[in-house]
Amino acid sequence: MTAHTDPTGKKLGMWLFLYTEIVLFGGLFVLYAVYFAGYTEDFIAGAKELDLFFGVVNTIILLISSFCVAAGVTAVQKAHYRIALAGLWGALACGAIFLVNKYIEWGHKFAHGIYPGSDRLVDGPGGQNLFFGLYFVTTGLHGLHIIIGMTLLAVSLVLVTRQKITPKNNAMLDNSGLYWHLVDLIWIFIFPLFYLVV
């Protein structure tokens, strides 16, 4: 009667799931690779038009958020709930700032007539259309993942407040943390691909 499940299985399941997320973005990266090989010049020109400032700031913000989450996870293991809550709040705040930045950044692009199907992209060189097309699709999907990650962290936060997450029973928090790190990691790939190809 093997009814009792050991907690490592929950982590195993989460790792397998994270793997599928990597492949999901992997599909977009494959498209990027193929089109980059075909339209190298256009991609470089496109990268120059992206605002490096926003890219760098968002990268730093996500790194800080990952630190906050890691601190929160460790704090719960030591039963320091105040620190854990602070970490989670910090990470949520970072996520929110990231989204606001993205909103402003996209807004600038829209204002310059750069959005899917815009005249400038449709009539311009095909390579630039693809670069910005991939940019919007990839960062849009990543933004969606940020929102999902924030939801998971918010649920964990509530559970910590209600003392449902304890040093012995912290799989939910652990897994939310893993998810957040993954979303962060994916950004670490997106950032150089789109902002730094020169």
Binding site: G9, G13, G133, V137
Partner: protein, 547 residues
């Protein structure tokens, strides 16, 4: 002992409602069983309509547009709602935990969630029927047509997206379960072969499904925002869609067939009272199929305009995947050789499986060879080939599994005679239906056309009769199985076939808690020395008396 049908019900959730909130893997398996049967029968009806339309030249019952929608819906349901989930979700859920001596899967709630996602996907597919007309793209959703047609492709694609998610979560659940919940004394080489095949399948599900997810997302994105990623006029490359689609969808055919092979590997040794020939070779070939099968996707694209080198490489790799499949067929046949064979309905279905699947596999080599492929690409030859593998293969394995495990799941035995008649009707009808399609394809009749030239009339007319027999056989089989539930006198024995894997050591139907005490794991999962000592033919029960 009370069975899992008499599970205590929480207040407010009695009767059918207690099933909708159950976490028990056996109950979830039955939820899947009945929902999948529903979709299957619906799609069979649609298949019959296609056949009826094609029976006579010119318009018969469906118009051209209607025909396109019907074959799309037929394909979408058969692939995403029947053949991919059927064996893992029903029999995997029911028997995988029992096979490894566990109480349940590792994530019971996720398991229920997968079922709800499955139902949601089905409902969304139906919703797309009633708004703007059902998609007419075929189940492959090829761009540019899928992006430009006015029918409701986005909804159908979204349905496929949800269904993919559901199947992926089931795979994730199984991998974790096998790794973490095996009985303490059970090593990897003591796993039953059905469980092994589910393990290999689960990995393919997990590795490949995210690719279709992103592909479908891109179709929706293109329809909504018109980005132009696959539009040559705007720099995109249409063939990239086909690559992404087949990187999932070719491995998906192994998601469909591997569990079927697992079922046959269970039934053959039990029916022959003989340890399976080449246990390790079968395990290794499952894994080899899973790996090699992921590398051959572009054999669907020989005519799409790939480089000659690519055509050559993919053609070669395609021939390589045939080897592990052949290893399994040889192992089954070798197991039967000099066995003490007891004919039963599951065995008859398994034998039909071996034959039909072999034909499907061999014609697959015709399609894998680039030269021959160019002649028969997108003709009825292809339609015949994939029905031989998917329907003759997985479909028949599904029928075999139904007849093999039905007594265990419900504690009821069905009528053997009707089961034999149904098996023969389905098989003969199958041959009459699809063999003419090989000929039609070689003559050049294209697929997905609702009308044809006069020289194809005779073949289509005969094929129509085959479909009729086949559908009648399926109907008889369903009636036979379902009426068995109503009749009291045919209770099933705990081990009607003389099987030795763990599910046969517990009562039929199983109790709520699978194992009252730790199960005894055999050193070797197909050791029939004890059964054989009683003498061949002694173990199976008499279908009339149930003793």
């Amino acid at each position: 002992m009370t069975s899992f049908y008499q599970t205590p019900e929480p207040a407010g959730f009695t009767g059918i409602r207690s099933w909708l909130i159950t976490f028990d893997h056996k109950r979830i398996a039955l939820l899947y069983l009945f929902s999948i049967l529903f979709w299957f029968l619906l799609a069979v009806t649609l298949g019959g309509l296609i056949r009826l339309e094609l029976m006579f030249p010119g318009k018969t019952v469906l118009g051209a547009q209607m025909y396109n929608s019907v074959f799309t819906l037929h394909g979408v349901i058969m692939i995403f709602l029947f053949i991919i989930p059927a064996l893992p979700a029903i029999f995997g859920n029911f028997f995988l935990p029992i096979h490894i001596g566990a109480e349940d899967v590792y994530f019971p709630r996720l398991n229920l969630l997968s079922w709800y996602l499955y139902m949601a996907g089905g409902i969304v597919a139906i919703v797309s029927l009633f708004s703007d007309g059902f998609p007419d793209t075929g189940w492959t959703f090829y761009v540019p047509f899928s992006i430009s047609t006015n029918t409701n492709v986005s909804t159908a694609v979204f349905a496929a997206f949800i269904l993919g998610f559901s199947s992926m979560l089931t795979g994730l659940n199984f991998i974790t379960t096998i790794h973490k919940m095996r009985a303490k004394t059970m090593g990897w080489l003591q796993l039953p072969l059905f469980t092994w095949s589910l393990y290999a399948t689960a990995w393919v599900q997990l590795l490949a499904t995210p690719v279709i997810t992103i592909t479908l997302v891109l179709v929706v994105v293109e329809r909504l925002f018109n980005v132009g990623l696959f539009d040559p006029a705007r720099g995109g490359d249409p063939i990239l869609y086909q690559h992404l689609f087949w990187i999932y969808s070719h491995p998906a055919v192994y998601i469909m067939i591997l569990p079927g092979m697992g079922v046959i590997s269970e039934i053959i040794p039990v029916s022959a009272r003989k340890s399976i020939f080449g246990y390790k070779a079968i395990v290794a070939s499952s894994l080899a199929i899973a790996i090699a099968g992921s590398l051959v996707w572009a054999h669907h694209m020989y005519t799409s305009g790939m480089s000659d080198t690519a055509v050559f490489v993919f053609s070669l790799l395609t021939f390589v995947v045939a080897i592990p499949s052949a290893i399994k067929v040889f192992s089954w046949v070798a197991t039967l050789y000099k066995g003490a064979i007891e004919m039963t309905p599951p065995l008859l279905f398994s034998l039909c499986f071996i034959y039909l699947f072999s034909v499907g596999g061999l014609t697959g080599l015709v399609l894998g060879a680039a030269g021959a492929n160019i002649h028969v690409h997108d003709t009825h030859f292809v339609v015949a080939h994939f029905h031989f593998t998917m329907f003759g293969g997985t479909g028949f394995a599904f029928f075999a599994a139904l007849h093999y495990w039905w007594p265990k799941m419900f504690g009821k035995m069905y009528d053997f005679k009707k089961a034999y008649i149904a098996a023969i009707l389905v098989t003969v009808g199958f041959m009459l239906h699809y063999v003419p399609m090989f000929v039609l394809g070689l003559q050049g009749m294209p697929r997905r056309y609702y009308d044809y030239l006069p020289q194809y009339a005779a073949g289509n007319f005969f094929a129509g009769f085959g479909a009729l027999f086949m559908i009648a056989g399926i109907g008889l089989m369903m009636v036979n199985l379902l009426t068995s539930l109503a009749r009291e006198r045919t209770a099933a024995a705990d081990d009607p076939w003389g099987g030795v894997t763990l599910e046969w050591t517990i009562p039929s139907p199983p109790p709520l808690h699978n194992f009252a005490k730790d199960p005894e794991v055999m050193d070797y999962p197909y050791d029939f020395t004890k059964v054989a000592a009683v003498g061949p033919g002694a173990a199976p029960m008499d279908p009339e008396t149930g003793k």
